[in-house]
């Protein structure tokens, strides 16, 4: 039983599950469990086709207003979609940055013209987006923006460098935070620009990570262009818009993420049983801890994130991040620890031939860094949620 859903919701769940079984049993069968964090390099073309299939059958923009091309579904049904998506092992999305970040931002801050221009391509899965916030050397300090843009007669000219940009090689466009008022500092004088990726002024260089693969990229803008009207919100008010995007970077998809975590946990548990590690009481206790904490994550999300659609989140997202990121990292440790010595042997001689357990182990080190490091989450929670005073600046 689940306190969140009624019978009609459960019927919707069956509809989603049925669609996923059908689609993943056929031409997209190879995509089960493919893609996702740490595995963005897998089956990219097939996953683009999958994105278009999602769009064709109306599974993108479930919570968007019908007037904007969405389906206007309740948060319960959105949760159900994400849960079933994860439960089925459906592939890591290539369109989620557009659907979950840029789309909601345009719904909040975009002009009617911008919405008409950009939302359809997200909804039908044909236009992919990437995010241009972080800059080299700035770490979690998002206000340290050096990328600059200037509005001339022929539109925006953008120069600078972004980093840790997922899916930059696949994306058609990038939403970029750029300094448009020369001499401004920190949060002031920034604008939120929509920059086409397929142009001579944009250069994408993959970053090789500790996994041997490249989920992240550096993006170089060298006199890159964007149309004058492709600025979201007023010029100079990009910070407010970007914070709006960050605030929606969670929400209903959390429950899908947790379903994915549960699948990962089950695989670790199965490996522990198969290899005998489950008989080691210390390992058994760690498995129990991990499972219990996963239930706690879920209970906490139900209570704090299952809020009516459209409500603006406070620090709940920070609490959630500070719970799941370290949890996931510990699961990665457990994944190799249950294998013992075998956990140190890879699947093959190439640097990126890791076992799934090793990939989980290594890639989860990023969970506590990206999207606001644990340290930044703690500071936000302490100052905004707990009201502890800022120290001397």
């Amino acid at each position: 039983m689940d306190p969140r859903f009624d019978d009609a919701d459960e019927a919707f769940r069956r509809e989603v599950a049925g669609w996923l079984v059908r689609e993943l049993g056929g031409e997209f069968a190879e995509l089960v469990d493919a893609g996702g964090p740490g595995r963005e390099h897998e089956h990219v073309e097939a996953r683009k086709a999958w994105e278009r299939r999602l769009g064709r059958d109306g599974w993108i923009g479930l919570g968007w207003p019908e007037a904007d091309g969405g389906r206007g579904l309740s948060w319960q049904r959105q949760v159900i979609f994400h849960e079933e998506y994860a439960r089925a092992g459906a592939p890591g999305r290539v369109g989620h940055i557009g659907e979950q970040l840029l789309g909601p931002t345009l719904l909040m801050f975009g002009t009617p013209g911008q919405k008409a221009h950009f939302l359809p391509g997200i909804l039908d899965g044909t236009q992919l987006w990437c995010q241009g916030y972080s800059e080299p050397g700035a770490g979690s300090d998002l206000a340290a923006v050096s990328t600059r843009a200037e509005l001339r007669a022929d539109g925006w000219h953008v120069d600078g460098q972004k980093v840790w940009t997922s899916l930059a090689t696949e994306a058609d466009r990038c939403f970029v935070l750029a300094r448009t008022e020369p001499g401004s500092t920190r949060h002031r004088g920034l604008s939120y620009l929509l920059v086409p990726m397929r142009q001579p002024g944009v250069d994408v260089r993959p970053i090789v990570q500790l996994t041997g693969t490249s989920e992240f990229n550096e993006v170089f803008f060298d006199d890159a262009r964007a149309p004058a009207e492709d600025v979201v919100g007023a010029p100079g008010e990009g910070w407010k818009v970007a914070m709006g995007t960050l605030a929606v970077e969670r929400g209903v998809s959390t429950f899908g993420q947790q379903m994915g975590f549960a699948r990962e946990f089950e695989r670790v548990l199965a490996a522990a049983r198969a290899g005998g590690a489950a008989d080691d009481p210390v390992i058994a206790d760690r498995l129990l801890d991990s499972w219990m904490q996963l239930q706690v994550l879920r209970h906490t999300a139900v209570m704090t994130l299952g809020a009516p659609a459209g409500s603006t989140p406070g620090t709940e997202a920070n609490v959630a991040k500070l719970m799941w990121a370290p949890w996931h990292r510990r699961l990665g440790e457990l994944a190799v620890d249950v294998l013992g010595a075998a956990g140190t042997v890879t699947a093959g001689p190439e640097v990126d031939e890791l076992t799934p357990a090793q990939r989980l182990y290594l890639f989860t080190r990023a969970d506590t860094i990206y999207g606001g490091s644990d340290e930044v989450q703690r500071t936000v929670i302490a100052q905004r949620m707990l009201g502890l005073p800022r120290g001397p600046a």
Binding site: M1, W291, T304, L388
Partner: protein, 345 residues
């Protein structure tokens, strides 16, 4: 922070908090909790004089009692009343009105592995029930037992012949204990094995939500201290290392509250789920409470180490919460078994 709370529930929370903040923690509080507000019977059906609410509302009251650490046998009595109300066995109708009015104090034996349950043939039970919480106050003791070879839930009047009660001196002075030695004590059956299990689960969930409330008080008090107390020329709360520790504590407190609340919801609404979520909530919340109470002392510095500061009372309550009610190892083993996870042994 609580998406599932309604206005009525917030009113209830405010009413109880006001009462516990205003009143001295003496007999008057007990009278007002029972008689005036009728809270020992909050979950009891109206046919027995109760308020007919769910275990969710009981959880709200328990969290406030945990917050205030009020030394009344409320948790035990309200849990016993709920168990009796849901059992619908004949004794229920007999004792529930007195329980609701506060004229009778009841409670469950602290959970233990079945090998330690009292046994008997017919209605006469023999065995020792140790570390029974609120034992010195109990008029009526509920316990799982093995009667004629079958696991059942029984009720024993503590003034009956064959019952010897020994009051135990306790580290946590707000939570008295007694040992009951039963030698052919008369017992009335009030439920089957499943009832016994559900009764224990409800007790565990109740303890969890009480702990979650207490843990939040510890954090709130610590934050108030850090915001105002200055050291090295600035408020302690401006020091980043302390801010980060408080953030971690806040995560513990929020998640404990969510987990306990879910367990109290499941107690009435999802008994099958409660079989896992109740022991899980008890294990998690007791642990969280112990951590937060320990940090409350540390972050208060020397003053938190004194008898006059409340920190030690919460620290001792957290300790007794963790070690009683079956203890950490047992309650975790119940979770593992019911969730189908490998046993830790």
């Amino acid at each position: 922070m609580d998406a599932l709370f309604g206005d009525e529930q917030r009113d209830l929370q405010r009413t109880v908090r006001d009462l516990l903040t205003r009143e001295d923690p003496g007999p008057a509080v007990w009278q007002r909790l029972c008689g005036e507000l009728g809270l020992t019977g909050i979950t009891v059906g109206e046919r027995h004089g109760g308020a007919g609410a769910t275990t969710v509302e009981l959880g709200i009251v328990l969290a406030e009692l945990g917050r205030a650490l009020t030394p009344v046998p409320f948790l035990q009595t309200a849990v016993a009343a709920t168990v009796l109300d849901r059992s619908d066995a004949p004794p229920a109708a007999e004792v529930l009105p007195a329980l609701v009015a506060g004229g009778l104090v009841a409670g469950l034996a602290t959970p233990a592995p079945p090998t330690r349950w009292p046994t008997g043939s017919g209605p006469a039970l023999t065995g020792v029930l140790d570390n029974v919480v609120d034992g010195p106050h109990l008029d009526l003791l509920l316990t799982p037992a093995v009667v004629d070879g079958a696991a059942v839930l029984v009720a024993v009047r503590t003034d009956a012949p064959g019952v010897t009660r020994t009051t135990l001196p306790t580290l946590d002075r707000s939570r008295p204990q007694a040992r009951f030695a039963l030698r052919g004590a008369p017992a009335v059956e009030i439920g089957d094995a499943a009832s016994a299990s559900r009764a224990t689960d409800l007790l565990l969930a109740a303890v969890a939500v009480e702990s979650a409330g207490a843990a939040r008080f510890c954090l709130d008090t610590t934050l108030a201290h850090l915001r105002t107390r200055e050291q090295f020329g600035r408020p302690l709360g401006t020091f980043q290392a302390l801010q980060h520790r408080c953030a971690d504590l806040a995560v513990l407190v929020e998640s404990a509250w969510a987990t306990a609340r879910h367990a109290m919801w499941a107690a009435d609404a999802d008994p099958a789920g409660a079989a896992v979520s109740a022991p899980l909530a008890k294990a998690y919340c007791a642990d969280a409470f112990r951590t937060v109470a320990g940090e409350m002392i540390q972050l208060h510095g020397g003053i938190g180490f004194t008898w006059e500061h409340p920190a030690h009372r919460y620290f001792k309550r957290a300790t007794s919460t963790d070690l009683l009610f079956g203890g950490r190892a047992w309650v975790r083993s119940v979770v593992a078994e019911r969730a189908g996870l490998p046993a830790v042994r």
